[in-house]
């Protein structure tokens, strides 16, 4: 018993076991939060939601960017992608000839679910009458 304890409670066993537990915990967290959902809101310069705006999703690489999805905002100016499988993306909204600046979103892991904290703002959009 004492011998087994000495074998198990030394740094060559404890450190790898702790690391393995951290990796396991992280992977469980990832599997519970990786559904590829990216949600957010599109607003005009005055901060009002824009319905029917087109939002484009790009996947970034170190040297390339590829358009991978497009969706439209609903009546509340909300949009939602459900099939993002990248960790490094860009979003851009467009409506009525106006476009928002591209917003880079960096995720902690592939397909991480994220609700954007700040909306995409369309500049130069004529105010709705």
């Amino acid at each position: 018993m004492r011998r087994w304890r000495a074998w198990l409670l030394n740094r060559f066993v404890v450190v790898p076991v702790v690391l393995a537990l951290i990796v396991l915990g992280w992977n469980i967290y990832v599997s519970l939060h990786a559904h590829g959902v990216i949600a957010g809101e599109v607003v005009d310069a005055s901060g009002r939601p824009v319905a029917g705006a087109t939002v484009t999703l790009y996947h970034l690489n170190f040297i390339t960017e590829v358009k991978t999805g497009e969706t439209r905002t609903n009546g509340q100016g909300r949009f939602r992608f459900t099939d993002n499988n990248s960790h490094l993306i860009e979003l851009q909204a467009a409506a009525g000839g106006a476009t928002s600046p591209r917003v880079t979103v960096r995720l902690w892991f592939r397909a991480q679910d994220r609700d954007l904290a700040s909306p995409l703002t369309l500049h130069g959009l004529a105010p709705a009458s």
Binding site: F12, V15, S86, H87, L88, R106, L107
Partner: protein, 273 residues
């Protein structure tokens, strides 16, 4: 008198601290750049990280086949460590025994240490090819399965074991293999630690041999992946440095875990006589 001695000690420690800090500056710079999105050409450079984040590590993990490179390096290192422990312990023990040609064998091994690996790389490649081990894990680990320095580390450690212990074991009826397993190795933990660290470090950092015998990206190890990354990426200093940290971290962790045994293993037998 005591005060004078104390100030000398203090001064010595101060110099050592400054020297250590100077040694650590490049590591600090790599670590700092890896957690910021700072370009290497940014002017003025910042001493402290501004807006630190770990996203460069995420980029490296996903945008290059890092997990594959890591797996390959781990498998090759484990093979090298296992080979070193078994083969070097056997060879080291053999060199402590008296047999005809023992001195010649020792001198032969010592003289082989003078030949650089680059000089023997073509025959090594041809032998590996004949064995059908090109582009395989065993082929990657083959030249590092036994190293002469580590044989001598074991030999020095075994020679430090009292002869009376070995004789007693022999009287009890143990053969050579069991003496090695039951008597020598339990008393040579420092030599085992040294072997593990050296085998791991050499195989982990090995670049030339994997470059020559791998044929596919899926068999490449971390140093090759790093070289590839360097060759086609620009303006990604933070990701490059994150890659460097991820390559270095396992080696540093293994060294920190086994440094006590490592130092004891290298110095065992050094003060004899």
């Amino acid at each position: 008198m005591i005060r004078g001695r104390r100030s000398v000690v203090l001064l010595r420690h101060l110099v050592l601290v400054l020297l250590s800090a100077a040694m650590l500056v490049p590591f600090y710079w790599v670590l700092k750049t890896s957690i910021t999105d700072e370009n290497i050409f940014a002017y003025p450079p910042h001493l402290l990280p501004t807006d630190p984040n770990l996203f460069s590590y995420v980029d490296v993990w996903y945008l290059i086949p890092f997990p594959r490179f890591l797996w390959n390096s781990v498998v090759v290192s484990l093979l090298a460590i296992a080979g070193n422990l078994v083969l070097n312990a056997l060879a080291g023990y053999a060199l402590t025994r008296n047999f005809p040609g023992q001195r010649f064998a020792t001198l032969l091994l010592l003289s082989c240490m003078m030949i650089p690996f680059q000089a023997t790389i073509i025959p090594a490649y041809l032998i590996t090819a004949k064995l059908g081990l090109l582009n395989s894990y065993l082929g990657l680990a083959l030249p590092l399965l036994s190293t002469i320095i580590c044989i001598f580390v074991f030999k020095a450690s075994f020679e430090a074991v009292p002869r009376s212990l070995v004789e007693a074991a022999r009287i009890d009826g143990l053969g050579d293999l069991r003496i090695l397993w039951r008597v020598m190795l339990p008393l040579s933990r420092a030599a085992i630690g040294t072997n593990v660290i050296l085998a791991f470090t050499w195989s982990w950092n090995n670049f030339l041999w994997p470059l020559i015998i791998t044929r596919t990206v899926s068999m490449q190890t971390l140093p090759l992946g790093l070289a590839n990354f360097l060759s086609y990426m620009e303006n990604t200093t933070s990701a490059l440095y994150a890659f460097v940290v991820m390559v270095l971290a396992p080696g540093i962790a293994v060294f920190l875990m086994a440094q006590k045994e490592f130092i004891r293993g290298l110095t065992s037998g050094a003060a004899k006589g």
